[in-house]
Point group: D2
Chain length 261, copies 4
């Protein structure tokens, strides 16, 4: 079975900043998609903020098994209606991976329900990621730790909810630590946050980083059919109760009526 | 130390529906607040949807240690700006308790990042709540189970994230089950969801329910000072790094600059 | 890839009790293994308490991807050395599924670190299992709930640690509830507890129960190579530290020395 | 209310090693107890491995609200019967705090159900602990990070189950990270693991470390009465079922009979 991945790229710094354009001449999203396409079981394409509906039409999401999100400079330009649509897709079973500065992306903040803040420093310092959950599928094939010689620092406290599992923790040369790989479930959808990926460094060309993202895609993928309306809150009429009961006492609602929202 | 509680009441059915007015002549919010005020360590007052700014001014939230939320018919009337303010207060350390139909309240959905849906039936059936975490402070003084003779049914699957702990699970006469007591942390704030409380039944007059809510207040309360800006994501300049480092490599940001949002 | 499953059966009541022998003429373990063998990706065999080393030799465990454990009347007859061996295999990456009365099996108690107690009643009452985590792979292909017309009751509080995820909760006719599907990770191994399966009822002939067990096998399976010594706590000599440091201050240990245990 | 703390000390290196004796002339256990006794709400005393029953008689445990455990060189000398007794007390509601090398203490391994292994290096390097859960009561009054100039390194992967919450993560000068503050619940008892405390360094004289331990005591303390038999698994006879039912189908057990173990 082939996993259909859509890589969402903000695509701002790649066009406006010479350094970033030099590292990612085809854009970060296309670099990430190309890395994924080296795997037979994954077929990745990309869309960007500048596309109509940011590239995330209902049709596109319906054909996306796992969405990958990278954004930084233009979080505020993402339309709320698209954010709602993405969250609905996740709640219905689509997997989603948030990379690096997407910790402040609207859909990540919406799915976490938390401030998602951190401390940061752009000094090209060394980062070393340690695996904290042995044999976790997202860490498959990795050593116990791996290094990125130049990265932006993100520091604790990281304002996210306690995850299902902490998969990676980063050590930074300047003295900070950070929970760099975190798993969540929201509705029927699997959510993975992965820290590395500052746009001025060649992080998405790194073999270990690419492996983590491919592993993350497989972990986040759910083969079950998307839930039609993941927000549905159906009334169960008395006569459809699993056990026979008789209605009693005062009531606000008629049988089969819609609930309040 | 006295815990300052604000009970937020939607206050719609109490005024518009004779049955509800009969059960809660002073409004549900005042019934809940009065029950809490029988405890020496708690001082509870109430506000309603109809108050200016829904009663939740910045000043009011600053003086609230734990906010209790009951809403049902008018979730959509709660202004988004107030929801943001409530979430900020929670992220800064305010405790919050959501009761019953508040599973679809805007601040609950915002804090959960999930659909928060369920199945339901209004048949006045029997509910029995079982304690699933022995000696949890929210269950202090309770037997292993207690009954509510007449309640609305809420059924699984309940579309919320996996909690820190599941404290209660309900059995319903009609054949369903429901995770009725769930704890979360969002930012620095403790969050408790407690299921019972359909407005046509005298649930908030029940001694065990009152005990759970008082216990929940004590559990959710955090004596530390509220965090000033719970969304702050400070830059750590190179010269302020805990370990001495030298900046290297290309940069997007100047020292001490604001990050993107 | 084929998943190699070993079903461990206590094999006591099947031989000593006419009712159980009638329901499971080939033993419960063989009934479970046969059900799994209808799946192309699973190859299941069985061993029993009465086999040498209870059938769980080092060689056997090395060839087992997922171990399934059913025991009830003879928990105390399982040798502690075999329990240690099973736990080591789990910690090294073997998946394990505990069924029904195995809540009191030695390896389950050892892996949980908790009393694992519950309340119980043998009255052939109706059990209805509800899915609490939509699209969880262990619930794949199941409806939101399914029934077992005759089962033993297990009731909360269930003395186990908070799980990674609660997948099923049971409703019982007599008024109790129970967390019937729970996931854990211990060391590198995935652990799944699944409640149904009292030996006097035909539970393991039920299509939904069989589906859960097959799903559970796929969920618990980890394709990575087993960790050689899952208890190893290696010293990292100063000269092998990821960052160059110089030893300083007083010391108890010589370089490369074994730590205390 | 005064919290009664018992500090359990292995008391080996303090007597046999001049360096340790110099840092802790009264023993580590007495240093820790003295620090706790500066708080009005805590009354701490100590016992050691060399005491009869290791100082942990049934009477002593019954009068202990929170037990603190430090051991290193003599884990194997702790009798299994005492370990069982300690676990029973925890399951019944006693709080317990494990310090540093107690990651390999028998009761910790028993309560975790996991290998509890790690990597280590004794080089007197710098450790910096970061708070990862803002406003957690165990971090009350602490800055976002604090340093210990000389400590033994413990590195990930740390072979413990995913905790309820990760409260601290350590950065080490030599390049490793470690989850240094972890909370669990086992049975009715709260469990806290806190990393620092190698015996050749003056860690338990550090003001921040002392604060964490005092906070941990308050967090782990449960004022409810200890559960009499935390392993009890009572039969609920048919006539005592919460809902009226009639027994049906075949049975193994007589009413009120003991279950198998």
């Amino acid at each position: 079975m082939t996993i259909r991945v859509t890589v969402w790229g903000e695509n701002v710094h790649e066009r406006e900043n010479k350094i970033v354009a030099g590292v990612y001449p085809d854009g970060m999203h296309n670099c990430i998609a190309a890395a994924l396409n080296t795997h037979d079981d994954i077929r990745a394409t990309s869309v960007t903020l500048q596309d109509p509906e940011h590239g995330l039409t209902q049709a596109r999401l319906a054909e996306t098994d796992v969405l990958i999100w990278w954004g930084h400079a233009a979080h505020g330009d993402v339309e709320d209606a698209i954010v709602d649509r993405v969250c609905d897709a996740v709640w219905g079973g689509m997997g989603i991976i948030f990379l690096h500065s997407a910790h402040f992306a609207k859909p990540f903040k919406r799915l976490m329900g938390a401030p998602c803040n951190l401390t940061w420093r752009e000094a090209g310092e060394r980062e070393r990621l340690w695996v904290t959950s042995r044999h976790h599928p997202i860490a498959a094939g990795l050593p116990d730790s791996f290094e990125l010689e130049h990265e932006e620092m993100y520091g604790e406290p990281f304002g996210v909810p306690e995850p299902l599992e902490t998969v990676f923790i980063s050590w930074f040369q300047g003295g900070e630590v950070f929970r760099s790989g975190l798993t969540y479930k929201r509705g029927a959808g699997n959510v993975f946050y992965f820290r590395p990926g500052h746009e001025t460094y060649p992080t998405y060309h790194d073999a270990n980083v690419r492996r983590v993202i491919a592993n993350g895609v497989r972990w986040a993928f759910n083969p079950e059919a998307r839930i039609g309306d993941p927000n549905d809150a159906p009334n169960v009429p008395v006569e459809a109760a699993p056990e026979p009961i008789t209605a009693r006492g005062p009531r606000l609602h008629e049988d089969g009526e819609e609930g309040f929202r």
